[in-house]
Symmetry: C2
Subunit: 192 residues, 2 copies
């Protein structure tokens, strides 16, 4: 089956918003990219703001489902952290526009983004708290710090490429080496 024009608009809007941010992207650009008329976009979406909101919810759901499944599929907490980091890293590697998109949302003080990932952070936090109580992780740190730490670093790895381009040693440009080093620092950092 062919992709509908509406879905096509969403896809192209995500790509453009993630690449250039909300304000840099005009409805005309999206229309051109999606090969529809500007009017059609206003037919399907109330206005530019509403289009942005819709794009956000659709693609956040894609990511959240992925992560939530992972939470339930691994019982060893240390291994869960390790796997979560690696899985999330791979997810972002395959969807490099997504962290850019959410970074724009954060910068623009989007109130909704906190609401969207709240259940995810909550669940991650709970799992870590349990592990702490069972003596599998150090007790004296707030779980949120850990969750925040790994999401942030991985997102930023794919966003701030300009930080890496100017190094002659090629190591940090190799994604696998990077994530391995980062995982080991974190795992060792939380062990009792």
């Amino acid at each position: 089956m062919e992709i509908s024009k509406k879905d096509n608009i969403l896809n192209e809007a995500l790509a453009l918003f993630a690449t250039h941010g909300f304000a840099h992207v005009s409805i005309s650009m999206i229309a051109k990219q999606a090969k529809v008329t500007k009017s059609l976009i206003f037919h399907h979406f109330e206005n530019k703001e509403h289009l942005w909101e819709t794009v956000k919810e659709v693609f956040f759901k894609k990511y959240a489902d992925n992560q939530m499944n992972l939470f339930e599929s691994e019982s060893d907490p240390i291994e869960l952290i390790r796997k979560s980091m690696r899985y999330y890293f791979d997810f972002v590697r395959n969807n490099p526009m997504v962290p850019r998109f959410f970074a724009y949302a954060h910068l623009e003080n989007d109130e909704n983004c906190g609401r969207l990932d709240q259940p995810l952070m909550q669940r991650g936090g709970e799992l870590i708290r349990q592990a702490q109580e069972h003596g599998l992780m150090r007790k004296n740190f707030n779980p949120v710090v850990l969750v925040m730490n790994f999401i942030t670093v991985i997102n930023q790895y794919f966003i701030a490429e300009c930080h890496f381009k100017h190094w002659d040693n090629g190591l940090y440009q190799d994604p696998d080496t990077f994530i391995n080093d980062f995982i080991e620092i974190t795992i060792q950092g939380i062990q009792p």
Copy 2:
């Protein structure tokens, strides 16, 4: 002495750019905020792009000088890491617009931002490398991962406030608790 109109334009431009991003901010807005005419801005700065570049270099220098001094003021590497994190955290706390500003620069694929902080990353990397060779830190991670880790997390802490607002437990909203937990995880993570 009074602040010159040109400097005033720079200050207001930083604040506006950091708050709303490049595209969202119009020259008229800056003019209004700085209480000068739009034409005066074009008199002092070639165009909008050039104003953006100037703002960036001025305020990056402010941050870089701060950090570079710290690098030379502490000889114990582990303590240097600890101090760097805390100092950088405090710097950002006092200049919360700065990380927002650079985040926008990263997102907009600003080639120059890599060039700007390259000496800083280089120096930090060297110091860590030396500490590794002296057996003061674990050897099997790339220094850049560590530098990147702490800069990223601290920046993001102040940017992504929306992540924190939706929690009932107030801990992670307390900046000091947050940075303490984060420092301990990192320090423990890199020790031999």
